[in-house]
Amino acid sequence: MLDLFVQFCQMTVVLAAAPLLAGYVRKLKALLVGRRGPPLLQPYRDLARLLRKEVVLAESASWLFRAAPYIVFAATWVAAALVPTFATGLAFSYAADMIAIVALLGSARFMLALAGLDVGTSFGGIGSSREMMIASLAEPAMLMVVFTLSLLAGSTQLSYIAAFMQGPAVGLRVSLGMALVALVMVAIAENARIPVDNPATHLELTMVHEAMILEYSGRHLALIELASFVKLLLYISVIGCVFAPWGIAVAGQGFAAYLAGLVVYAGKLAAAGLLLAVFETAMAKMRVFRVSDFLGAAFMLGVLATLLLFVSRLA
């Protein structure tokens, strides 16, 4: 019963905090380059405005185009519900593991790419093809990270991995450092952040994610935007619960522990948002064809982390 309640709280928190995180990162980025920036709550206002607006559909759009935003949003939200954010012992965490999260996000991306192709505009096509190129490189790297973590913890379940990482059995391991760097690189690519894609641009030559959703409007666009906010939050939560698992409340610790977990989680999000904003301000976007090198390095780190684990398991 408690598990269900925690699960419900978590899903609400994730959904409510995701636009705030996006607004916070935007605000920080604006401040770092000396602008005032939009207010923190601007993403909520944008979403509310989009929800009120009428949907404009292209004439060539099929049912797939209309269904895709709901599927994308649902898959992303379910994936986010599986990640322990402020408490482990979630009701759903026994249903699916980290590989399922990767699969859910992969199917969300697949639907979005199909929708981009569906209308038949050239921008949608170029966006979809680039997105699939990035995905085909990012997913193997992500899976190598999952393998590293599960070899170490003995399970692919995130709640279990988070509990293991809090325990004393972890030790100092070079594999974990490599897995962290690889996961951060994958997260940057998957969330269309700066060295790979610029979330704030509509320049034809460089846009990837924005090109796919160019034809969307109204509530469809609101759902897709919300899904991308949730996805950013999800990756930060995964990195937080695996590599900085301190403060996550364990099931049965009582109300105070949950409250403390919530505060620590907010702190983690704030720190991650600050790092992301500083990183994005300092970096320049790379050419699309350099992305394969970037993600290839992430994959290599993942493989190397797994290999080194075989040596360190001697101990």
């Binding site: 030790g171 100092l172 070079v174 290999l307 040596v311 001697l314 101990a315």
Partner: protein, 221 residues
């Protein structure tokens, strides 16, 4: 707990060395290549110093100091000078197929681990792990030498092989200090000889791209 910490730090440093070897393969600019090589030597020096600490072997500190002074400071500075004098410090070296080289590199690391772990089953834990990583570093250095066309990059590959040998030697309960000192100085002599050679190649062919040497070996018809 202390035993496990000793192993963990040794593992961390040796693993970092393999990672830096990978980074050497990834660089395409001369200056950054030499800087990464300095980092490589720095990691070796830390690794040797840690071995000296856990094996209670003070003479290994001297090895670490030699690595720090000669390989992490003198050789990079000299290489930087050579590169500037050869006017190639701003050139981007066309690395042939970074992706393929990386895949080969990962395969070599896997091979080294697969070969070393079974045949050293009786040795001490730290020695086994150091030997496996040392073999990977050596193989990666060889890969660096065969995949690059620029003579300076090949020198860096050669020097990184020597770092791998140091790692192997210190992991296996140390080698005599005399041997270590003579190896360090032979590396310095090798650097000088190679440096002279670089200038000779350059004088003769106006480039340090070693592919131009092939037709002078008499292999081609």
């Amino acid at each position: 707990m202390t035993g496990s910490l000793a192993f963990d730090v040794a593992h961390l440093l040796a693993g970092a060395l393999v990672l830096v070897s990978m980074m050497l393969l990834y660089q395409d600019r001369m200056t950054s290549l030499i800087n990464i090589f300095a980092l490589h030597a720095l990691v070796v020096s830390f690794s040797v110093a840690w071995q000296a600490h856990i094996q209670q072997a003070p003479h290994l500190y001297i090895t670490a100091a030699i690595a720090l002074v000669i390989k992490a400071t003198v050789i990079p500075v000299v290489l930087h000078r050579i590169v500037v004098r050869l006017q190639i410090h701003r050139t981007i070296e066309p690395v042939v197929g970074v992706g393929l080289t990386m895949l080969a590199a990962i395969g070599l690391v896997a091979l080294a681990i697969m070969v070393m772990l079974p045949i050293t089953a009786q040795a001490a834990l730290v020695a086994r792990e150091d030997l496996a990583f040392a073999l990977s570093v050596i193989l990666l250095g060889l890969l660096m030498m065969i995949s690059r066309r620029n003579a300076v990059s090949q020198v860096v590959g050669f020097m990184s092989i020597e770092n791998g040998l140091i790692l192997a030697a210190t992991g296996a309960k140390g080698m005599p200090l005399v041997v270590e000192i003579s190896v360090a100085f032979s590396i310095l002599v090798a650097l000088i000889v190679i440096g002279i050679f670089l200038f000779r190649i350059r004088e003769r062919f106006e480039t340090v791209d070693v592919h131009l040497l092939h037709e002078h070996r008499g292999e081609q018809p």
